[in-house]
Each structure stands twice: as structure tokens, then as C-alpha cells.
């Protein structure tokens, strides 16, 4: 923001000072001197303006602030809406994942129930670790500990 303001101030000063660029090449000294004095006066007028408004309240700085806000502001509603959409998508994915795991667990339980009615608890746990959640880091580590 400060850089934008400084650019604006320098731009204004440069604009005023550049009125002296038509001073000529020194052939007509009076014209050249008058042009430089005019450019100096114009530049000082710009400086005076900035000092009068204490920089912060100068209309040019206010315009810069408005431009900066327009360029960088994030509309709260849009942001919240986007976050909600993101969270909803994530929640949907997680629900699907949990549903899949639950279905697999039920299928596994039914399979063992049909086979012999009852089954050892340890076997059931091993089966779950190997077939249902082999990628789970917690279960994988517990499985490795058990085997090790």
C-alpha cells in the first residue's frame, strides 16, 4: 500500500516536473530559464498540496487506497460460500469412505458367521486388518508389532 502511495506521489511530482522538458537545448536561455522556473513552481504546488493534506488525506492517496482495496479485497460472502462448498465436498467423500468401510466390515462379519457360527476374536481382528483397513497406519503398525 505504501509503495502504491509513493508511486502516486512520485508520479504526480514527475508530471509537474516534466512540464520543463520543453525547455529547449540552451539556444534561448531566457525561455529555458522561464520553463525551469515554471516547472519548479508546478512541482512545489504539488508538494504543497500533499503537505496540506498531510499525505494520508490527499485525494490522490485516497484514490490509491480505493484501487488497492478493489484489487486486493476478498468478498466475505464469496469466501465463506467457497469454504462451505469445500467442506461439503470433503464431508461427502469421508461419508462415502466410511460407508464403504462399514459395508466391508458387515460383509466380513456375515461371511464368518455363515462359515461356523462363531469365530475367535483374534482371527476376526486379523482379518479386519488384512482385508478392510490395510492402509491404516495405526493398524499397520499394530499389525507389525504383533508379527514382530
Amino acid at each position: 500500500m505504501t509503495c502504491w502511495s509513493i508511486h502516486q506521489i512520485l508520479d504526480d511530482l514527475q508530471g509537474a516536473w516534466m512540464t520543463g522538458r520543453d525547455a529547449g537545448d540552451g539556444q534561448d536561455m531566457d525561455h529555458m530559464t522561464a520553463t525551469y522556473i515554471w516547472a519548479t513552481a508546478k512541482t512545489h504546488e504539488v508538494m504543497e498540496d500533499y503537505l496540506k493534506f498531510q499525505f494520508f488525506e490527499h485525494p490522490a492517496i485516497a484514490a490509491v487506497l480505493a484501487c488497492h482495496l478493489a484489487a486486493t479485497a476478498v468478498l466475505p460472502d464469496d469466501n465463506i460460500s467457497a469454504k462451505f462448498t469445500q467442506l461439503e465436498t470433503k464431508l461427502t467423500k469421508l461419508s462415502s469412505k466410511v460407508d464403504g468401510i462399514e459395508s466391508k466390515a458387515h460383509a466380513c462379519a456375515r461371511c464368518h458367521d455363515n462359515a461356523d457360527g462363531t469365530e475367535p476374536k483374534a482371527h476376526n481382528q486379523t482379518h479386519f486388518q488384512d482385508n478392510i483397513a490395510p492402509s491404516s497406519p495405526i493398524l499397520r503398525s499394530s499389525k507389525n508389532r504383533g508379527r514382530g
Binding site: 500500500m1 505504501t2 509503495c3 502504491w4 502511495s5 509513493i6 508511486h7 506521489i9 512520485l10 508520479d11 514527475q14 516536473w17 516534466m18 520543463g20 522538458r21 525547455a23 540552451g26 529555458m32 525551469y36 519548479t40 512545489h44 508538494m47 504543497e48 500533499y50 503537505l51 498531510q54 499525505f55 494520508f56
Partner: protein, 105 residues
Amino acid sequence: MMETHIAASMQNFFPAPFGKTTGDKLDDNESLPGIPDPGKFDNGSAGIKYKILRGMKDVGSQLEANIDKVLRDCPDAKETARDLLLNSKGFIIDLMNFMSQDFNS
């Protein structure tokens, strides 16, 4: 000599302490080439602000000497030139303070 200085001053958009730039970088409002880190602008005697104000004293003395020398026979013009110099110094000091406040806010 003086005319050359004045003509050269119209070529450079940035004052020397703020860095030099080429025409294609004029629209880059995000930074000042000479102040890559705003946090170091007002950093005691190592900051750019201090260097600018210290340099201003030297330049001010030189300009005052030039004014006295060139306009010694024109007291009104000399007084006007000194006033303008004083105004310019005041502007630079206020600009530096504005930058410090704005960088820190």
C-alpha cells in the same frame, strides 16, 4: 552543468535512494526498487530513511552554497531559491515520516 543535471532529473522516475527503474517497470506498484524490505526502511542508522535524511543535509548544504554563489547579486531571487529549498527539505522530511508511519501501520 546545472542544465544537464536538471535535464537528467527528468529521465529518472525514482529518486536515487528509491532505486532506478526502466520504462517497463514503471507500472509495478508493488515495490520500490531501492527498498526491497519495508521493515528496514526506518531501522535506525542502518535504515534507508536515515541515509536519505543524512544525504539531504549534504545536498542541502551544496545547494545553499550554489544559490549563494550564483545569485549573490540578486537578493530577491536568492531568497526565493532558499525558500524553495527549505520547502523541498520540509516535504522530504514529511514524506519520510509518512512512509515510516505507513510501513509500520
